[in-house]
Amino acid sequence: MADMTANPSVARKASLPRINSRLVVMTLYLVFLMLPIYWLLNMSLKTNSEILNSFTLWPQNLTFANYATILTDASWYMGYVNSMIYVVMNTVISVAVALPAAYAFSRYHFMGDKHLFFWLLTNRMAPPAVFALPFFQLYSSVGLFDTHIAVALAHCLFNVPLAVWILEGFMRGVPKEIDETAYIDGYSFGRFFVKIFMPLIASGIGVAAFFCFMFSWVELLLSRTLTSVDAKPIAATMTRTVGASGIDWGVLAAAGVLTIVPGALVIYFVRNYIAKGFALGRV
């Protein structure tokens, strides 16, 4: 990757005003992004009477009661646990089945490979709303309704194609000679794949896992349709609270803030790969 810091051509002549305009644009944009999140955080630290009766830009009497409500009530915090369980299950399944498939796509030509690849992508395009009802019936009929594995499998619909695409992009960057050398050295396919190949694309696996995690975490329609009590995700727990008469704004805001935390924690580690992941490994 070429770095553009050493690029004198564009900026040098009028460097001062240019840098300033950049700064202004970026500041405005980042403020635009952060304001709604700040407002949520702000509300989560207020009492309900302060939220409803006075308009304040920051909490006048700081309270953590909203967070305490969530973290001590099982019907709330089990939502997080349920979400975490099916998200992790989905990530493991998606990456595990995508690894060999991505290897096949990146290394070999085989009958119907191009069509298969596009067909996989079409699953990423399928509107979840189309699948909500059939999923409900399918998983009810096999007795998986309201289990974590049902949601995990349902999310494979869009996460497996995504994982295949991302991993294929990363695997293309690994020279083929490495495979051939390993086979000459007498490695079996399985041993080569686990011992040599997987460490080489470790960052790719990380990125694919991150994206599966992310898309499973943010999805609500399918996870809500497929669960009722035992595997109810946090997102669905939140919507029901909104529907109840007399919305508890403070708790709702606190629950929202807590759903942002996991993403915010992992994002730092993949910041340089996010674009590559979204570009399905094609940057």
């Binding site: 070429a2 992004l33 709604p36 399928a126 975490w217 946090i234």
Partner: protein
């Protein structure tokens, strides 16, 4: 790209994916197809209805209206997010701490669960307790997203711009990073203007990733459900009832299986057709660049 060898045994490596996707996509899709050609009077008794539901849905105002709203929404957000995303990418710091900082902050909205995105904007836009609604109200703007058509649309569009512009920006940024310095130096020797540098160097180099950005944004905006559902619930009236919202209403709310299934299939086909065009353009671009 490296030369690939022909090996039909590679199919075995793809089998697990096939099995899984067959279970989670093909079987449900077949159920939908099944419903779309049958009629039921309850008791799980079904009758062959042929293409009746398709004919009915095609002649119904409701679907066309939802499709129209959907098209308008996707067109508007693409028209805003793509130029804005490119503009932001051009203004991002190139390296160092601030580049990382921008990347992290910009990615944040992408990782917020979609219903929380809805909740955030639902709160943010409220006239009594939200910063945006309160400020607009104080400025004398007639703003109320639950009752006013224009406010509801404006809120949803700004929300989507907030949520997804960073995706376009990140991809464009990645495209920009891959341009070698030599290109800019050549442009400088030729005394190319800023606009010409953008038009003839940066834009062509970004084209590949931009197509992906447009493809993703089109697909996802066309399937949008959760965010508008939480913020406006499809209202006021039917003003923001997009395709997915209408479909869920029909399938899970009224349990009109036949029409809903016919609707689903046509909905899917529209996305498929448009995405196929993008995909073909994208792979052709790839080939031309010799990737």
């Amino acid at each position: 790209m490296q030369e690939k060898t022909v090996n039909h045994k590679a199919w075995f490596l793809v089998l697990p994916v096939l099995a899984l996707v067959a279970f989670s996509a093909v079987i449900p899709l077949m159920t939908v197809v099944n419903y779309s050609v049958q009629d039921s009077f309850g008791n799980n008794q079904f009758f062959w209805a042929g293409l009746e539901w398709f004919r009915e849905m095609l002649s119904e105002e409701r679907m066309w209206n939802a499709l129209g709203r959907q098209m308008a929404f996707s067109a508007i957000i693409l028209a805003i997010e793509v130029p804005l995303g490119i503009f932001v990418a051009l203004n991002m710091p190139k390296s160092g701490f601030w580049a990382s900082f921008c990347l992290v902050v910009m990615s944040l909205p992408l990782l917020v669960p979609w219903n929380v995105v809805g909740t955030i904007w639902q709160i943010f836009g409220r006239v009594d307790i939200g910063l945006l609604g309160y400020t607009l109200d104080a400025l004398g703007v007639n703003y109320n997203y639950t009752q006013d058509f224009i406010s509801a649309w404006a809120t949803l569009i700004v929300m989507d711009v907030w949520h997804w512009t960073s995706l376009v920006a990140l991809l464009a940024y990645a495209g920009l990073q891959s341009i070698p310095d030599a290109y800019y130096q050549a442009a400088k020797i030729d005394q190319a203007s800023r606009w010409k540098v953008f038009r003839y160097i940066e834009l062509p180099k970004m084209m590949g990733v931009l197509m992906i950005a447009i493809l993703l944004r089109f697909m996802d905006s066309f399937m949008i459900y959760t965010e508008p559902f939480v913020v406006t619930g499809g209202g006021p009236g039917n003003a923001t009832t997009f395709l997915s919202i209408d479909l869920v209403k029909m399938a899970l709310g009224q349990f009109d299986l036949g029409p809903a299934a016919a609707f689903s299939i046509m909905y899917f086909l529209v996305i498929l057709a448009i995405s196929w065009v993008f995909y073909t353009v994208m792979t052709n671009l790839d080939k031309r660049e010799g990737k």
